[in-house]
Amino acid sequence: MDSFSSPSSGSSPKFSTDDIMSQLRTQLEQAYAEEFLETVRGKCFDKCITKPGSSLSGSESSCISRCVDRYIEATGIIGKALFNQR
């Protein structure tokens, strides 16, 4: 146990402000991505899979693709609407 302490510092590793902020931003981005994914799954399931069959039909698959694109677009429209107010 004595080999852990060094004569010069004798304390736990120090993290810089940059390290802390960098980790925070990475974790926030991951959390946002997961939340976004979960939301899109829910919305597109509701819109596109109205009567679940024994496999995904071609029209269900294309609906899902369009749905994801539209939802991303909607996010952009809302963002702009909030920050380009009259």
Binding site: K14, F15, S16, T17, I20, M21, L24, R25, L28, Y32, E35, F36, T39, K43, C44, K47, C48, C63, R66, C67, D69, R70, Y71, E73, A74, T75, I77, I78, G79, K80, A81, L82, Q85, R86
Partner: protein, 76 residues
């Protein structure tokens, strides 16, 4: 000053900024979800109709108007 101190003003300031950004992100996320439900009633197309796009914009702005009314009301 100890650069790893959680009490450093620099860190607190950066954290406050990130908190602000996170709150805005959350607002956009919730509004997009609510306005999608209100405005995109049919099956998603390969682009938004102008009425769908306008509805989304209106939805966000009316929400902000409403928010102001609510705050004023609560302050009375």
């Amino acid at each position: 000053m100890d650069p790893s101190s959680m009490n450093s003003p620099e860190l607190q300031n950066l954290l406050a900024q990130e908190k602000q950004k996170a709150m805005i992100s959350e607002m956009i996320s919730k509004l997009t979800s609510a306005c999608w439900d209100k405005c995109i009633t049919g099956s998603p197309g390969s682009k938004f109709s102008s009425s769908e796009a306008n509805c989304l914009t209106n939805c966000a702005q009316r929400y902000m108007d409403m928010s102001l009314i609510i705050m004023k009301r609560l302050q009375q």
